[in-house]
């Protein structure tokens, strides 16, 4: 029980207090770099700006001290409920994402994940679907045309991309044979022969044996490259950040569904968005980038290697630290990648957004499922454990 | 768990119509893309192209239905007997289901032929029509062979959903929209009632398959009984038995007439067949109580259907109430519940198909100028203008009324005999009495056609496809009036024997 609470608190604290503020800073800096500006550097403490790292703190103080306005004619209850409904799913989504493997210390074993449920991936989809309510209710309850338009756009966009998001990762379920994120992470802690499919045709010609030595980590991104692209697109569209920010669309709708929010209620929407960036990074890392797995160094290798020098208990600890570090560096990389995308592409037009979802991603997802099934059938022909997809 | 191989041959009829639906759907897309290249096509060309596409699609769907019927008849002759479904039986392919499949196929085929000229006349010639019709037919094929609540429900939905859309196919006409909406809402409620009943049945017996339910039912119990009542209510809605008939007049009147004809014959057949199978398989021991319940429904339907039909002045509305009344007659057979009664019911459904399709075909033949000619005044003086049409209409109406010399009489006769044998004297009296009432409204139309003057000049002609349908229906009615049990041409097939074989699905 204590362990569960500790794990939950750890992930909550890391994500909300460490990552989310940091990301606002990364976003400012990244945009500044990409737009050839100096960027956030005004907030200072006794003249020291710490590279603009004080800005997140200044944000919080500003948001907390602002007046909380509710527009006349708004539905007060739903208006107050909406930011909460927006923030809570973002906060609890990280529960199923494993940030470390299973470790044994003496008699106790524990897995570094807050909730190791059987249908972890579905949990992510469920949470994603509930997150819609925040924006929908915010838009409706505000009684403002900007908000309403934003909410309508948000609904259509999120519903559409939810469907394709679910379909795009079916290939991953098939390859790893599980919906459990911890299982998937363990499965990704190995490598596979890139040219394994050549076995199907004939034995390799002499001198080409080195082909067999080329191995890649058994990661989702290598097994399911198409699914990776599709999933990343969909999940970013779910988060409604540029280039998918039609519900907010500053140039048309002021701030879309949260136009009529101020103070910390606005802050909650803002925070939810940044936490979702981390959640996206975590989910993509767990599904496609091997989660906590270190490429080419499986858990046994690390543990055995360190244990031969320093003893087993210490080896487990080291291994755990390496894994957690590995996971969070992947998360940081993916967060940065999202920032890069966010500041590189212009906003979609609404019809383009829908066309992309229904006419591009949906058929490609179905194609991916079909190809994966064919690939797995082939892989069964070759040998158990050989390459899939 | 090893999945058994699918017995594809068993599902041939279902497969033919389902694939036919998909092909029709795609064919429409491909053909209309070729026909409407470029935006600047003028409406006239578009209309002509649509008419051509419509003929192609009608031909394709006819082919699918004919293949399905052929397969069904072949299975029937083979004495096909197999439970279909990998692992657990979902569908039972036997004489009853193949008989009903062929019957429904015939109804669908005639409806397709009715539509060929009717759709362009109403300017609703869209390719989806045929696809929806085929999908609904597929649903009925499932329904008539369902031996599990799951396949029953899915079959029912697959039957109904396309018909909701088909009822509203004439979007320019307010009544058509009303019909679709009304049918959909009421149908949704009926579905919910049916599902609730199924949930209770499953909760009480722990089974969803009919035989399992009959075993679980052995203990009796109120829960199962109320589940049963709700399931019967849900199915009674589909076959428009009083008191679940309120949708019938509005939908029959509002829907395009070809759709009305389609659902009047096929849905009724499918609904009664599945009800028959459900009652016989799931409740072999419930005879007494259920037959009282069914008897009440039968009596109410006959009374209300016939009395309400008298006061209608729209032909389609009148026929709707007549359909309610006929559902009541059929329910008399259900109340009787003997093998002879099942035979009579099946034979009745067979004859009913020809009379109903024929009547609606006449209504269709009158439609012109983008509107229906379906009020009773519209029939005035028809005999002088289009005597053949008036003659066959009279024949169909006489048959519906059950006047000797028509197949309708023979159908009613067998039903009455079976009911008397089973001791349902009260119901038989109601049947005979209300049939007398029905003479009044059925014979009103011939009176109008032959004895009144036409006010307007119709310039519509009976198209060749309609002539085929009318001739077929009229011939069938005359033939079975005299040879229901005989075989004058030495084909070795006697209609009543066929129905008897189908009704003998229990052994």
């Amino acid at each position: 029980m204590i362990l569960v609470v500790a794990k939950t608190l750890f992930i909550l604290i890391v994500v909300t207090l460490l990552f989310a503020p940091l990301i606002t800073w990364v976003e400012r800096k990244q945009s500044a770099i990409m737009q050839d500006r100096i960027g956030a550097n005004r907030a200072d403490l006794a003249g020291m700006t710490f590279l603009g790292l004080l800005h997140p703190a200044a944000d919080v103080i500003k948001l907390l001290s602002k007046e909380d306005l509710v527009p006349a004619g708004a539905n007060r209850f739903l208006h107050a409920l909406a930011p909460i409904l927006s923030a809570v799913p973002a906060l609890i989504a990280f529960a199923v994402i494993p940030y470390g493997a299973t470790y044994r210390f003496g008699d106790t074993t524990f897995t570094l994940v807050a909730a190791d449920i059987d249908w972890g991936v579905l949990y992510l989809l469920v949470i994603g679907s509930l997150a819609t309510y925040g924006s929908v209710l915010a838009g409706w309850a505000s009684r403002s045309n900007w908000s309403m338009l934003g909410a309508i756009r948000a609904t259509a966009q999120m519903i559409s991309y939810e469907v394709t998001m679910g379909l795009s990762i079916v290939g991953i379920f098939m390859v790893f044979g599980s919906l459990k994120l911890t299982d998937m992470a363990v499965a990704q802690d190995t490598t596979f022969r890139v040219f394994g499919f050549l076995d199907l045709f004939a034995s390799l010609p002499a001198g080409a044996g080195w082909l067999n030595a080329i191995r890649l980590p058994n990661w989702g991104i290598f097994l399911q490259p198409l699914a990776f692209l599709l999933f990343l697109t969909c999940i970013m569209a779910e988060n409604k950040r540029p280039p998918f920010d039609l519900p907010e669309a500053d140039s048309e709708l002021v701030a879309g569904y949260f136009t009529e929010y101020s103070g910390m209620r606005f802050g909650l929407f803002y925070m939810a968005e940044f936490i979702e960036v981390v959640v996206i990074a975590g989910a993509v890392a767990a599904l496609f980038l091997g989660g906590w797995a270190v490429p080419y160094l499986s858990q046994e290798t690390i543990t055995a290697g360190v244990a031969s020098l320093f003893g087993e208990g210490f080896a487990n600890l080291v291994c755990m630290l390496i894994h957690v570090g590995c996971f969070f560096s992947k998360v940081v990389f993916l967060v940065w990648l999202q920032m890069l995308i966010r500041w590189s592409f212009p906003r979609f037009r609404y019809d383009q957004l829908m066309d992309l979802c229904w006419k591009v991603i949906l058929p490609l997802s179905l194609l991916n499922i079909f190809l994966t099934a064919a690939g797995m059938l082939l892989a069964q022909q070759i040998a158990p454990g050989a390459a899939a997809s | 768990m090893e999945a058994e191989a699918f017995d594809v041959a068993a599902l041939a009829p279902l497969g033919f119509v389902a694939i036919g639906a998909l092909v029709t759907l795609m064919l429409e897309v491909v053909l209309s893309r070729r026909a409407f290249v470029g935006e600047g096509v003028d409406p006239e060309t578009r209309l002509v192209a649509r008419a051509r596409i419509g003929i192609v699609l009608a031909f394709a769907s006819s082919a699918a239905i004919v293949l399905a019927m052929y397969a069904a008849i072949y299975q029937f002759e083979l004495g096909f007997e197999t439970a279909f479904g990998p692992g657990r039986p979902m569908l039972q392919l036997d004489a009853l289901s193949t008989f009903a499949t062929a019957l429904i196929g015939l109804g669908a085929l005639l409806s397709v032929w009715l539509s060929i000229t009717y759709l362009p006349a109403l300017r609703i010639n869209h390719g989806e029509y045929y696809a929806l019709l085929l999908l609904s037919t597929a649903g009925m094929f499932v329904l008539v062979s369902a031996v599990d609540l799951i396949s029953l429900y899915l079959g029912l939905e697959l039957t109904s959903l396309p018909i909701y859309a088909l009822a509203g196919f004439n979007r320019r006409r307010l009544r058509s929209n009303e019909a679709a909406l009304k049918y959909f809402l009421m149908g949704a409620v009926a579905s919910a009632v049916l599902l609730y009943g199924m949930a209770l049945l499953y909760g009480a017996t722990g089974h969803t398959d009919f035989t399992g339910i009959s075993q679980g039912f052995a203990g009796g119990g109120g829960l199962a009984l109320s589940g049963l009542a709700l399931v019967i209510a849900g199915l009674a809605f589909k076959v428009s038995v009083v008191p679940f008939h309120q949708w019938t007049p509005d939908v029959y009147e509002g829907a395009p007439t070809s759709v009305t004809a389609f659902m009047a014959v096929t849905v009724k057949t499918a609904g009664f067949v599945v009800l028959m199978r459900f009652l016989v398989l799931a409740l072999p021991e419930m005879g007494e109580k259920v037959s009282v319940l069914l008897g009440v429904l039968a009596g109410l339907s006959m009374l209300i259907g016939n009395l309400m039909a008298v006061v209608q002045d729209n032909v389609k509305r009148m026929l709707a109430y007549s359909a309610v009344a006929h559902a009541g007659y059929l329910m008399v057979g259900f109340a009787a519940g003997t093998p002879e009664a099942w035979t009579a019911v099946l034979f009745y459904l067979f004859v009913y198909l020809f009379m109903t399709v024929g009547v609606f075909c006449v209504v269709i033949a009158l439609a012109q100028g983008g509107r229906e000619w379906d009020s009773i005044e519209d029939f005035a003086g028809l005999a002088s203008q289009r005597p053949a049409l008036a003659a066959v209409m009279t024949l169909f109406l006489l048959s519906l009324a059950g006047i000797p010399g028509t197949a309708g009489f023979m159908a009613k006769f067998y039903l009455v005999v079976a009911a008397v044998d089973a001791g349902q004297i009260a119901l038989v009296l109601i049947l005979v009495g209300t049939s007398m009432v029905s003479f009044f409204y059925y014979l009103r139309l011939p009176v109008v056609m032959y004895m009144q003057k036409r006010r307007q000049d119709p310039d519509a002609e009976t198209s060749s496809s309609e002539i085929v349908v009318l001739a077929l229906c009229a011939a069938a009615i005359l033939y079975f009036a005299f040879f229901a049990q005989a075989d004058p041409f030495g084909t070795g097939v006697r209609a009543l024997d066929v129905a008897g074989r189908a009704a003998d699905f229990l052994h």
Partner: protein, 172 residues
């Protein structure tokens, strides 16, 4: 009363209460939709108590996450702000909702207690291995119920074609 039973009654009360609230006494049509969400989520809770976790997840994903959101979408598109649910209509609706709900519930309870459902043992003594997990469900769907799955496909096709033909903007 065990904790599970307590949870069951809590969820059951919540489900019924918000279902009645949806028809009966909420002021705004959006609030009605939100009551429906509560009903859906409570049902999911009951499914979890029945060890059907996957069904619970799908219940939330599909009903709360998609269908009710679509309701909201339509409500907003049609801009049904005060929804035409005047106090009189609401009162009537409440009477109807309580009437229908009460009748069905009481009827079921009476029938169930008369038939002795409450006293008999559950039909299934112990749950089979892997009950309610996605693996067991998937295998069942693609073996025993393969035909049903295919039929559902046809049903969905029919409804899509029907919806498109009825709702298409342009007809010629």
């Amino acid at each position: 009363m065990s904790f599970e039973m307590f949870l069951f009654y809590a969820f059951a009360f919540l489900a019924v209460f918000s279902a009645v609230a949806m028809i009966g006494f909420v002021r705004h049509i959006v609030a009605a939709a939100m009551s429906l969400v509560v009903t859906m989520v409570s049902l999911a809770g009951i499914y979890v108590l029945m060890h059907a976790e996957l069904i619970a997840a799908i219940q939330i994903l599909v009903y709360a996450g998609a269908i009710v959101v679509l309701f909201l979408f339509v409500i907003m598109l049609l801009d049904l702000r005060d929804g035409g649910l005047g106090p009189a209509a609401r009162g009537q609706n409440l009477v109807k909702a309580v009437g229908v709900g009460g009748t069905v519930t009481i009827g079921t309870l009476v029938v169930a207690s008369v038939s002795g459902v409450f006293s008999v043992n559950p039909l299934v003594e112990s749950l089979p291995e892997g009950f309610g997990e996605h693996r067991a469900l998937g295998i069942a769907l693609f073996t025993d119920y393969a035909l049903a799955v295919e039929l559902v496909g046809l049903v969905l096709l029919a409804s899509i074609v029907g919806a498109v033909i009825l709702a298409k903007r342009k007809i010629d």
